[in-house]
Amino acid sequence: MSSSLKRSLTPYLLGLPTALWLGIFFVVPLLAILSVSLMTGNALDGYTLTWNFSIFGDAISTYSTQFLRSFLYGGISTAVALVAMYPVAYWVAFYGGRFKSALLFLLLLPFFVSFVIRIIAWQFILADDGIVLGTLKDIGVVPESMHVLSTPSAVVAGLTYDALPFMLLPLYVSLQRIDRSQIEAAADLYASKYDRFRTVILPLSAPGIYAGIVLVAITNIGDYVSAAILGGPSTTMIGNVIQTQYVQNADYPIASALALILMATLLVAMGVYAKVFGTRTLQEHAT
């Protein structure tokens, strides 16, 4: 009896420090600020709670383009990052040998020098007459008027680049624990390499794919840096709108409403995703 009580209390005790930390320093302040979305007024004269639910409809209709664009850019960059990093994680996990940690570390290093410097360097690399485009133009591979910066592709590329470590690490973590013996066993069972990958490696790395997609998609859909610095005249994402409305315009109700809509959409999307893929792999493993 007491041992079963102890067992049922265990998860709560384990989760307590994080629950307290996030409860106090994330949930409470966040709820306070999001409640502003239901208020009307301005910073100078104050806000009153008017249960102004119509703001959500207005926010969606005014910024539908930016919302859709965010999901488009976020989706593409997540997919590209997944496809680009899976082989890398795979190789590091299985063939990295003693270079494993060193390789991971190397891939993460650019993310230790502040995004401001990283982006300045990328702008230099991708400038119209820079080392890449300038050279290509000189040898006549691309037209003189071609540019990469200030385009939607530049925004997606920026998002993808910043997503690389967030995709790599969870993939690596789930792949590196796969036992070689299992693959060997699979090699005996299945004829082709492709079958082996599809039936053994891919399902076993599913939790990593899930975590990678969660981390990358959520952060990229809400991103504001990439579009602000690498984008053109029509690449604004919803993160930029929230940023501007909050900081520049001090329009707290609309900024809070937009943030709430964004978060709700992301959470619902992730919930659906977890239902469809996340738990299925869990069940597969449980049996």
Binding site: T10, P11, L14, G15, P17, T18, L22, F25, F26, P29, L30, A32, I33, V88, W91, Y95, R98, F99, K100, S101, A102, F105, L106, L107, L108, L109, P110, F111, F112, S114, V116, I117, R118, I120, A121, I125, L164, P165, L169, Y172, V173, S174, Q176, R177, D179, R180, S181, I183, L204, G208, A211, L215, I218, G222, I242, Q243, A259, L262, L266, L267
Partner: protein, 285 residues
């Protein structure tokens, strides 16, 4: 499928090369070649930073016009005192917030992936919401909260904020490893008389250690990179990104690139040290 999650290796399995995984020679070179390419592309901005940290800058501002080679910026590295202290703050906060986030995030991840309990759904939701919340809203809400409570802003509040966003990433990364960690392993240990604490230290921790390391790296990178949330709760304390971002308006001093180069070099040295240490150790994980 019980062996699926476990790391019980068949004796000798680690040492034997799984010959069947190898294809023809050219195809074997394909994957490492691709990995090399990705590493190269990832490091591109670093190469630029390294190169231009040796560029002369008559006006003491970074410029991409090549003015000639110099090591001046390394000799004068610490000449801007507030930049130096900003960098130190960033490194301290990154280290501390990573340690705290891992320390509290690991048990939380274990709870979320190994137990079924009533509040699990809510906990999952909060973790995802923490990642999904736009930085500006998180920063502003925390500032309002600290002001309301009369907590002075500074190093401590930055640390609190960084842990608050780091911990969610730590939990998600660790979950991807813990989710299919074979419970029978831990139970076996318990049957053999290990208490939960011993079981954790002797079974769970060694198994999830690479995951903890990865999560920690991610947390440190996130902390050192954060600008928006930090700017709200920093008070009079400056961090590296805050200083650098502020200096963009008037031009970045070349010392910033020199510091970037040194961070990179230190990273490479750590990696090499790890390699050497790994060679000495009997078996790497």
């Amino acid at each position: 499928m019980s062996a699926a999650g476990g790391t019980v290796r068949r004796p000798g399995a680690a040492r034997r090369r799984p010959r069947s995984l190898h294809g023809p020679r050219w195809r074997r070179a394909l994957l490492p070649g691709y990995v090399g390419l990705v590493v190269l592309v990832t490091l591109m901005p670093i190469f630029v930073i390294v190169l231009y940290s040796f560029n002369q800058a008559p006006n003491e501002r970074v410029n991409f016009a090549w003015n000639g080679f110099t090591t001046e910026w390394y000799r004068r590295l610490f000449e801007i005192p507030d930049l130096t202290s900003a960098l130190l703050h960033s490194l301290e906060i990154a280290a501390l917030s990573t340690v705290i986030a891992v320390a509290i995030g690991t048990p939380a991840a274990i709870a979320l992936s190994r137990y079924r309990f009533r509040a699990r759904g809510t906990a999952d939701l909060v973790i995802l919401a923490d990642i999904a919340a736009p930085s500006v809203v998180v920063g502003a809400s925390l500032l309002g909260f600290f002001v309301y409570l009369g907590v002075p802003r500074g190093f401590g509040t930055i640390l609190i904020a960084h842990v608050a966003f780091n911990v969610a990433f730590v939990v998600v990364v660790l979950q991807s490893r813990l989710r299919d960690l074979d419970p029978s392993l831990v139970e076996a240990a318990r049957d053999l008389g290990a208490n939960p604490w011993q079981a954790f230290w002797q079974i769970t921790l060694p198994v999830i250690f690479p995951a903890i390391l990865s999560a920690g790296l991610l947390a440190a990178a996130l902390s050192i990179d954060d600008f928006i949330i930090t700017s709200f709760v920093a008070g009079q304390t400056l961090t590296f990104p805050l200083w650098v971002y502020g200096s963009v308006k008037v031009g970045i001093p070349p010392q910033v690139f020199a510091m970037g180069t040194l961070i990179f070099t230190a990273g490479v040295l750590i990696a090499i040290a790890g390699l050497i240490a790994g060679r000495r150790a009997p078996k790497e994980t």
